[in-house]
């Protein structure tokens, strides 16, 4: 089937088999940040944004992207570097395999929640598994990033 969609701001026209899932199409298009950790919508590694909303690309048919704006970490490199350096400074990047899906959901959370508490953060990101860190370092990095952003905003206002 022929589909048209926006991938990281670029209009894509391509063929996709009816049973192809979005995850495979995105990797085929060179978005290797999109990872598969399971086949059962449990791990969150394949998280991408569809019109700004986080979705599991393993559980969406490629043809469903028709007419939508898909964003992967390849399209958010500046943001990835900015938040990613907080993650790295905690040593919580570790093996890195879950990082892209985690970051995409963190970005969605930052859009959606104003001033989230630690509990809000854990709940929002509950679907993003990580086997290396025990999550504590990831949480620290988010809290420190939020504090940094807050201070940055205050400095801008002042």
């Amino acid at each position: 089937m022929n589909i048209n969609f926006w991938l990281n701001g670029v209009c894509i026209n391509c063929e996709a088999e009816p049973d192809m899932i979005l995850l495979d199409l995105l990797r085929e298009k060179g978005c290797y940040s999109v990872k598969r950790g399971c086949e059962t919508s449990n791990c969150g590694l394949c998280t991408v944004l569809m019109d700004g909303t986080p979705v599991l690309s393993c559980s969406i048919l490629a043809v469903r992207a028709e007419g939508h704006k898909i964003t992967t970490l390849e399209g958010m490199q500046k943001e990835a570097e900015e938040f990613g350096s907080f993650l790295a400074d905690e040593g919580a990047d570790q093996c890195g395999f879950c990082n892209p899906g985690f970051l995409m959901n963190v970005f969605a959370m930052l859009q959606e929640l104003k001033d989230p508490s630690e509990e809000d953060i854990l709940e929002y990101l509950a679907g993003n598994l990580c086997r290396c860190t025990g999550f504590a370092g990831q949480t620290r990095s988010i809290l420190k990033f939020l504090q940094y952003k807050k201070e940055q905003k205050e400095a801008d206002n002042a």
């Binding site: 290797y32 086949e39 059962t40 990835a80 990613g84 790295a88 990047d93 093996c95 854990l122």
Partner: protein
């Protein structure tokens, strides 16, 4: 010192956090044949007939292989130094299928769809036999998992016998345990059962292969053991291992799973036969049903203490389930005794005996802790039960008996059974303070049907396999004055590439940015056993230090030559070689190295230690139990670790937090379960629940460091140790909160609720 003991960012961090294509599947050639495996539906069956004709004729199929096509020499997939303790009990494909999921046929084709279609077209007639599924009846069972004549134990003293379903058996003892136990005022005799767990690293098993311009087999693999994979593939394919090159890119976690060459043989065989590139990416389903989970163990502990609470005797018997193949079977069981009995320094007598049995379930393998986790759960739980018998605080009994620096670690089997460095006492003191133990022990009623209890456990591990593991470091000075550090150990996300560069930077007195780390490529990297057995920091770290010292000598020698002085007169400060007023910069020496020079500015150093100095730690758990439902949550976990000098405190902290979380999974949730016919029940993340961030309460980590003289910058290991305390500490906390002893993991709400009910009924009666 500028870098060691500093929380330096991992050198590969920015590539990882920005999602760069650095993992095996990201960099595999686009025209790879897709390899998949047809798997046995039966736990014990023989292939009577297998027809592949129509499968082979499927459009897009390159090849279909069965047991008739593969070499007939047996091998092991265990990543161990040759000769492996694990028996040679495998073929790439075998007529005899030994577990549900065992490989029946290999199919490779141009697309996944074609391969899936061909898999369905293979027609197999099986002769189904009764499987051996119960560890208690496996030994000397009439049904043999490995009846074949060419089964081979490379190392005779492990006590393996395929005609008895034994992968290993043995006994070690000191003194007369029964006699000492009979004199003890307090004794316990208990059986503890730990289950198989999946490492569940986020990146499943995978590799791709291609033939290079010399006709050699190149294997890019997500592995912890590149050099062992090279040997294993040589043996399995029956080709010289000089024909095999293994490259390790970034890998998405291992935790020991990738210390077994679980999936490499299949694409390697396809590429060797077809000469075409191929890849095999295990699904999560395959990673759940045919991989290398933790050995299930049933451990009986008899422990005795005198009237003063001094533990005088320990008797440990481990019955371990290696499954259908023997990978890591004979070695993991050893740690269940060596790392547990050694925690009690006053024992006059101990006995450690074991049987490792074959059964018709997926083969077990290496998982962080490697048997120590199971043994420490059992012995620490028995000591907690002994403390209850004595009416003693479980912290107090440990304070009386714990290992001390320079004191005995009975039966450890290394370091002369003496702890060369140990800060367990300070770990306990700090943990007590962090947990506010005295105020919280044993429990607090929170109202609303909830009760909180605290529990404690100690743990130790090793730092490398003493006298076996080999670390390698290759260091050269480049033309521009930078260094390249070539490593053969396998960074699996833990950050060893970074911490080894930290050490090198301090030795060479140069910025870390001036050191390029390279690894791993078996053609280029120095030999290294690999990243397992908590060896890398200690073993490869020492090799790095020695390489730096040797290279500095060479830099001084060349510098001295340039300055027309004797090498002994020179000094090197990282930037220049000086002799009194005379001075030549590192950059000038580096350039001199490339012009009219006959002295290599490159060294390779290899290090192996006869010692394996143990790291130590104390874990304390606080759990909250709902008395009505048995629902239990670890609300707080305190871990205080003596890993010697933490080379990178951030990475050491995250190692600890990650290990504790995995341990909480083992304690409360994770259990690889089988149907009565031997099929894995929890074959996806839907059923096999690893902890999410909602399941883990606070984990608080601190360090109390001893200084290990034989270690690099005083360091010992940390990677495995940190998974050893959660099971016993949490079970202790559950008991202190509810009075329920959980002796079979995991501690599910059902077990706890039923235990509470049973206790209430006992009181009523």
């Amino acid at each position: 010192m500028k870098y060691v003991n500093q929380p330096v960012r991992k050198s590969d961090s920015m590539a990882l956090v920005t999602g760069k294509p650095v993992y095996t599947d990201d960099i595999s050639p686009k025209d790879c044949l897709i390899v998949k495996i047809l798997r046995s539906p039966y736990a014990n069956a023989w292939i009577e007939e297998i027809r592949t004709g129509t499968a082979q004729q499927t459009s897009g199929i390159a090849c279909v292989y069965t047991y008739k096509d593969v070499p007939q020499k047996r091998f092991t997939l265990a990543g161990q130094t040759y000769p492996e303790f694990s028996p040679y009990d495998r073929l790439i494909l075998d007529r005899h299928l030994r577990f549900v999921g065992d490989a029946v046929a290999i199919v490779a084709g141009e697309t996944e769809a074609a391969v899936d279609k061909a898999l369905k077209r293979i027609k197999v007639k099986y002769r189904v036999e009764e499987p051996v599924l119960d560890i208690h009846t496996a030994k000397d069972n009439a049904v043999l998992v490995h009846p074949e004549e060419n089964w081979e134990a490379k190392v005779s003293f492990v006590g393996a016998d395929n005609k008895r379903n034994l992968c290993a058996s043995g006994k070690e003892e000191k003194g007369d345990v029964d006699e000492v136990l009979s004199r003890c005022k307090y004794t316990v005799d208990r059986v503890y059962h730990t289950k198989a767990n999946q490492q569940a690293m986020m990146e499943t098993f995978r590799s791709y292969c291609y033939i290079d311009h010399f006709g050699r087999l190149n294997v890019v693999s997500a592995t912890q053991i590149p050099f062992h994979v090279r040997r294993i593939l040589g043996t399995a394919l029956d080709i010289p291992s000089s024909k095999v090159r293994v490259i390790k890119p970034r890998i998405g976690g291992g935790f020991g799973a990738k210390q077994t060459a679980v999936s490499d043989v299949y694409p390697a065989f396809v590429t060797w036969m077809t000469k075409k590139p191929s890849k095999l990416i295990y699904s999560r389903y395959e990673s759940q049903i045919c991989s290398s989970p933790r050995h299930e163990m049933e451990i009986r502990v008899r422990a005795g203490a005198d009237e003063n609470g001094i533990i005088r005797a320990l008797d440990v018997y481990s019955l371990s389930n290696t499954g259908a193949y023997g990978e890591h079977g004979p070695t993991t069981v050893g740690l269940s005794g060596h790392k547990s009995i050694a925690l009690y320094r006053h024992t006059e007598a101990y006995r450690f005996s074991y049987d490792v049995v074959y059964t018709n379930v997926q083969a077990a393998g290496a998982y962080r802790g490697y048997g120590a986790t199971q043994g420490i759960y059992a012995v620490e739980s028995a000591v907690n039960e002994l403390a209850a018998e004595m009416g003693m605080d479980p912290v107090t009994v440990r304070e009386k008996n714990m290992p001390v620096e320079g004191g005995p670690i009975p039966g450890y089997g290394d370091c002369g059974d003496i702890a060369p460095s140990c800060a367990m006492d300070r770990c306990m003191e700090r943990a007590k303070e962090m947990m506010d133990w005295d105020a919280k022990y044993p429990c607090r009623d929170m109202g609303n049907g909830k009760v909180r209890g605290v529990g404690v456990a100690m743990a130790m591990q090793g730092s490398s396999i003493g006298g076996v593991d080999v670390g390698g470091a290759d260091l050269k000075l480049n033309e521009d004055g930078s260094y390249t550090l070539g490593l053969g150990c396998s960074d699996m996300g833990t950050g060893c590439d970074t911490i080894l560069a930290q050490m090198a930077a301090d030795c060479l007195n140069t910025p870390m940015e001036n050191i390029v780390v390279f690894g791993v490529d078996t053609d280029i990297s120095p030999y290294d056993s690999g990243s397992y057995a908590s060896a890398t920091t200690y073993t490869t770290g020492n090799a790095v230090i020695q390489a730096c010292d040797s290279l500095i000598e060479k830099i001084r020698t060349l510098g001295a030559q340039m300055l027309n002085v004797a090498p002994e007169e020179t000094e090197f400060d990282g930037e220049a070689v000086t002799a009194g007023e005379k001075k030549v910069s590192l950059k000038e020496i580096a350039i001199k190295g490339t012009c009219g020079n006959s002295q290599e500015l490159q060294v390779t150093r290899t290090f192996s230690s006869p010692l394996s100095p143990p790291p130590f730690m104390v874990g304390m758990a606080e759990v909250e139990i709902d008395r009505e439902t048995g629902s239990t949550r670890v609300v707080d976990y305190v871990a205080v670790v003596d890993c010697g000098t933490p080379v990178n405190p951030n990475l050491a902290r995250v190692q600890t937090e990650g290990g504790i979380a995995q341990g909480i999974g083992m304690a409360l949730y994770e259990d690889v379960q089988y149907s009565p016919k031997g099929a894995v029940r929890n074959n996806s993340f839907m059923q096999y629940k690893i902890p999410s961030r909602m399941d883990i309460g606070s984990i608080r980590v601190d360090f109390r460091s001893s200084y290990e003289k034989s270690g690099p910058f005083g360091a010992k290991s940390i990677g495995e140790l940190v998974i050893d305390t959660p099971c016993p500490a949490i079970m202790n906390a559950i008991y202190n909160a509810s009075g329920v002893r959980i002796r079979e993991l995991p501690a599910t709400p059902e077990k706890i609720a039923m235990g509470i009910l049973e206790n209430e009924m006992k009181v009523q009666n």
